[in-house]
């Protein structure tokens, strides 16, 4: 069982991933914006084994979250998730996220089975 933080401004995706990952036996916390996520992690980064973050969000996007987060907490594992937006294809957005340090990438719309497999794989890797 892992402790997973989900960050997505769209409630249906937060709820969907939450149900999916709880069914798979994980403990899940959901937040609607990157700023709230950073606040939680800054207070105490140890409660989370893995973050799953959307990329295109208001206020602070997933790119900024990734670069800020990994600068201060380089050992935390992150899966970036996107359906593309504001002129960027999902492929391009996820490639940028990879360069910023995301361990794995999920394209929206996602396949539930693929998410579970990706989470298990990310949890098996040793953070560098």
């Amino acid at each position: 069982m892992a402790r997973i933080l989900i960050i997505d401004d769209d409630e249906p995706f937060r709820v969907h991933l939450g149900v999916l990952l709880r069914n798979a036996g994980h403990m899940v916390l959901e937040v609607e914006c990157a700023i709230h996520a950073l606040d939680k992690i800054t207070l105490d980064p140890s409660p989370f084994d893995l973050l799953i973050t959307d990329i295109f969000m208001p206020q602070m996007d997933g790119f900024e979250l990734l670069s800020t987060l990994l600068r201060h907490h380089p050992r935390i594992r992150v899966i970036a998730m996107s359906g593309g937006g504001t002129g960027m294809t999902p492929h391009l957005a996820l490639n940028v996220a990879r360069k910023l340090g995301a361990d794995a990438l999920i394209s929206k719309p996602f396949q539930p089975g693929e998410v579970i497999r990706m989470v298990e794989r990310a949890l098996q890797t040793t953070p560098t």
């Binding site: 249906p12 969907h16 999916l20 208001p58 359906g83 504001t86 002129g87 929206k108 719309p109 396949q111």
Partner: protein, 131 residues
């Protein structure tokens, strides 16, 4: 001669069936959250258009696009994607007819999702014209 337009389902039922299998007991709850987005976002896009707020049109359309594609409402997702592109470019001249289509699609799509969720067969045709 009036013809009854052929009824075409907007929803990809295979996608919904897969989702139902994966989520088991949580399926109805999750689907209701998606449905709320499908019903309310088009109106928020229309409000953003009335205020000529292109950035908000893009952001709301972006969310709607993702939500629609996730539950298999692909044609509606494509309309939202077009609106997102318009919003991102700042050019909203052609947006109004798309929003009208989006609103009509959201009613039909939501109707189809309700029927799927309740396990009932969709009455055909749902919106006959020309009777």
């Amino acid at each position: 001669m009036n013809t009854v337009p052929e009824y075409r389902e907007l929803t990809d039922l295979q996608k919904l069936n897969e989702m139902k299998q994966e989520l088991e007991a949580g399926f109805s709850t999750v689907l209701r959250h998606y449905q709320a987005g499908i019903l309310h976002r088009p109106e928020r896009i229309r409000q953003a258009l009335e205020e000529q707020d292109a950035e908000r049109v893009a952001m709301e359309s972006h969310s709607l696009k993702s939500v629609c594609r996730q539950v298999g409402l692909m044609p509606m997702g494509e309309l939202a994607a077009q609106l997102e592109t318009m919003g991102a470019s700042g050019c909203l001249d052609q947006a109004e007819p798309l929003i009208e289509q989006l609103i009509a699609s959201s009613v039909q799509g939501n109707h189809e999702l309700n029927h799927f969720c309740n396990g009932t067969t969709l009455p055909r045709p749902f919106f006959e014209k020309g009777d």
